[in-house]
Structure formats: structure tokens, C-alpha cells
């Protein structure tokens, strides 16, 4: 309520110069939860601990199949560029997991 009062006052003040063209109201949104459903596999715990703070499992699992070297490069980029607090010892486990889940077809054949 207080914000609404302040807003209407601001509008009436600006109206001295020129008519207000738009009235801005407060906005809020409740976003859906992100279910942490990762299939089992070697290194899953390392992924849950180190990756899911920023990445939806859905996004990880939607990536095209790429090489182990590419996953190593991607995890490296997360550490060096995006400053993800990923323990160096966890990196091979994360890479193992990504290579593993990509080796298992998750979609019905079409």
C-alpha cells in the first residue's frame, strides 16, 4: 500500500511537467520449482553437489552427445570463467557422469 501511495504521488508531481504516459505497478512472480531428478550413474553425487545450484538437470540431460574432452572443457570453463566453486577432485566424477548419461539412450526410439 505504501508503495502505491508513493507511486501515485510521483505521478502527480511529474504531471506538472507533462502528463504521465504510463503507470508502473509493483510486480512479482512465483516461479515453478526445478525438480532435481538426475538418473543414477557414477558421479551423480558430485553433479548434485557441484552443478545443480546453477543448472537444471533437464538442461544437462538435453545436451547433444559430445566427447569426454568436450565435457572436461565445459566443466573447466565453469570453474575458471563462471567461478563455480567446484572442487578439483570432483571434476573427473562430473565428467564421468555426463559421459555415462549420454551413453544411455533416454528417449524411446523413433
Amino acid at each position: 500500500m505504501k508503495a502505491a501511495v508513493i507511486l501515485s504521488l510521483a505521478l502527480s508531481l511529474t504531471a506538472c511537467d507533462s502528463a504521465p504516459k504510463v503507470a508502473f505497478a509493483d510486480a512479482s512472480v512465483t516461479l515453478p520449482d526445478d525438480p532435481m531428478e538426475l538418473p543414477e550413474g557414477p558421479g551423480r553425487d558430485a553433479v548434485l553437489e557441484n552443478c545443480t545450484a546453477c543448472h537444471s538437470p533437464s538442461t544437462m540431460l538435453q545436451q547433444p552427445k559430445v566427447s569426454r574432452e568436450k565435457w572436461e572443457s565445459i566443466v573447466g570453463k565453469m570453474r575458471t570463467l563462471y567461478k563455480a566453486p567446484v572442487d578439483e577432485a570432483a571434476v573427473p566424477q562430473i565428467v564421468d557422469y555426463m559421459v555415462h548419461v549420454q551413453s544411455v539412450s533416454r528417449e524411446p526410439s523413433r
Binding site: 504516459k21 509493483d26 510486480a27 512479482s28 512472480v29 516461479l31 520449482d33 557414477p42 563462471y82
Partner: protein, 398 residues
Amino acid sequence: MTDSRLTRRALIAGAGGAALAAPVLAQKLVDLGLPGGPSLRAMDPAFPGKGEMIVQRIRPPLLETPMEVFREGIITPNDRHFVRWNWDLPTAVKAADHRVAVGGAVSQAVSLTLDDVASAGEVVEVVAVNQCAGNGRGLSDPRVTGTQWGNGAMSCAKWTGVRLKDVLAKAGVSDAAKRVRFAGLDVPLTDGAPQFIKSIPMDIAMRDDVLVAWGMNDEPLSLLHGFPLRIVVPGWFSTYWVKMLATIEVLTGEDDSYYVADSYRLPARPITPEDKDFPTIPIAAMPPRAFITSHADGAAVARGKPLTLEGIAMGGDAALGRVDLVGAGFELPCTLGHDEGPYAFRRWTVTIPQVTGNIEQIGVRAANINGLVQPETLTWNPSGYARNVIERITLVAQ
């Protein structure tokens, strides 16, 4: 970790996969036709203010517009407009508390209220396509990593706001100004990670149709679309259309920030997937694109009858010039529909006099008035940016 534990885990993995399959199959899924997969995407969970969308990522949200939405008209309804956030967005913004700081190479740095911004100049409306630089990335062949969009990371809206140049005038731009950089309220989750900030050259910033916008199809921007203000750069990819605008910074030199200097860049000349260490340029203006919306790949059509195809096209950073239906050994010019301005989608229609058999690998090819034409083959790049190869489908005569 012991071998026996690994084995047990492998067994659990098998069971887990089966258990997961049941709820996944119960969901409504869409097949984006991504070569080699994974290609199926869920149409849920629902997001507030949004209709049915392809959920590419839940947090931060990446929501793709289903292609059938583009059958409906030029304007994408707000509840079906695609959503893309690089970092988490605040879930509440108080209008009275919001400020836009205008600083850098200016006469007098200012902190503007929303009403200051709204009264900075004449109110301008522009209909413009908002398209992610990575739209269609998932269709790249060979595939590349990143958000695996189909072709629905694009939408078209009527944007309402004031000119960026009028907002800049509140602070007085230095004669030495080279670029204008924008930052929003979205910030990285990790300390030291690059903030999503983007800049445009001064000549673009001073254009009469580059806006600080608050309106989207005559409604206030929702938070998911950048409430309270977003930059609109008609004809340029939406990476520059910074949402939840909080800072405008005038630069006197090049922008060395990550998302301009190191990311969102294209090879300066065509490359192959084997090439490394090539020069790059920032992705900027959009090229022309066209899509068939009346028929999906594999759709049945009536043998012996005329066939009318419809769709949408865009000219990119210049008005659409023409659209042609192209197939094996034939081309047919399409009739263009209502013109909502150079940066909007435009509908097209074309009639094939008689269907004599399957129509293999047909597509529509857009050209803009500057003579830029959609290519026959994909101009591959390692980030999957700026896809505009002719999109082809096959229709089955019955």
C-alpha cells in the same frame, strides 16, 4: 568406491531409468526434431503468465514458443512469447524503488525513476521480432552445446517506450562516446562470474527506433519479459535487448566485458568444425528467415488438388523484400501479407496449382531489401548462432 558398489549403482541406474520413464511419458512432450537427439521436451511445468511453452530450462527460465503459435498471426501473444534468462531474475520489483542509473561518459550522471524514464521523450511504438542469437541451435549439424533450441526462440511484439537517445539526453552524452552498455537486475549466482551486460555502438544507440520499453502488446512487461524496462533494438538479436534495465553506461572505447568480447561471437569468415583459433566478430544484426507454418514436416496433402501453403518471414535488420517457395527444380514467388513495419514478422502465402506426388524438401527462402538471401546450406559455427539456412519439409501426397 568399490567394484561391487559400482555394480549395484549400475543396477539401480537401470531401475531408476524405468521408474523415471513413467512420469515422463505421462507428460505432454514435443519433438523438436534435433538431429541425433535428445529431441523430446516437456511442455510443463506451467509458468505464471505463460501459456503452453516448451520448457528448455526451469531455472533460470528458458521457454520456447511452439511453432504452431506462429500460425495465428504476426504478433506473438505475450503468454506465448519466448523467455530467455542468462542468470536468475529477481522475483519481485517495486516500481517506486526502481532506478535506472545513467553514467559513464556523460555530462552529469543521473539516477532516473520509472516516471523520469517514461517522460524522457515522445512515446514510440515499434513492432519487432525478438529472436535469441542461438535460435535453432539444436538443429546444428554437427551439433554444438548450449541451449538446445528448436526454431521457437523468437517472437514478435509491439513494443512501447521512449527512445534510448532521449533517456541518454537526461545525462548528456560525451562527444567521445563510442558505445552504450546496459545491465539489468539479473546477477550471477557465483562471485566473480561475469554479469550479463551488453553494449551497442553509438550509431545504433541513437537510432529513432531503439527504445527503453515498458510496454509489450499494450501490456506492461511481465517480470519474465524484463519488467519494468527493457532495451529494444529492432533488427538486432535479443542478446542486446537487456531486461530489467538498471544501468546505462556510456563507454568511450571498446567493450571488453565477457558477453561482448568473449561470447556471443561469430567466426569472421566461414569455418569448418575442425577449425580452431579463428577471428570472431560480435553477433549483431539479424539475417532474413522464413518458415512454413501451415504444414509440419511429413504432413499429408491431397493428391491432384491445389495446395496452399502459408507461413511467416522476417527481413532481419532490413525490411523483407521477397519470399519464394523453393523445391527440387522449381521456385514459386509467395504473396506477402500485411506490413507491420520492417522489423516485424510478415505473413506469406503461395499456392501450388496441383499436387502430383510427394513434395520433397521444400522450403521458403526470404530475402531482405538489402539483397541478403537465406542460404541453401547451414553456415555452421561452434556456438550455433544466427541460424538462417532455408528450413525444409517434405509433404506426403495422399
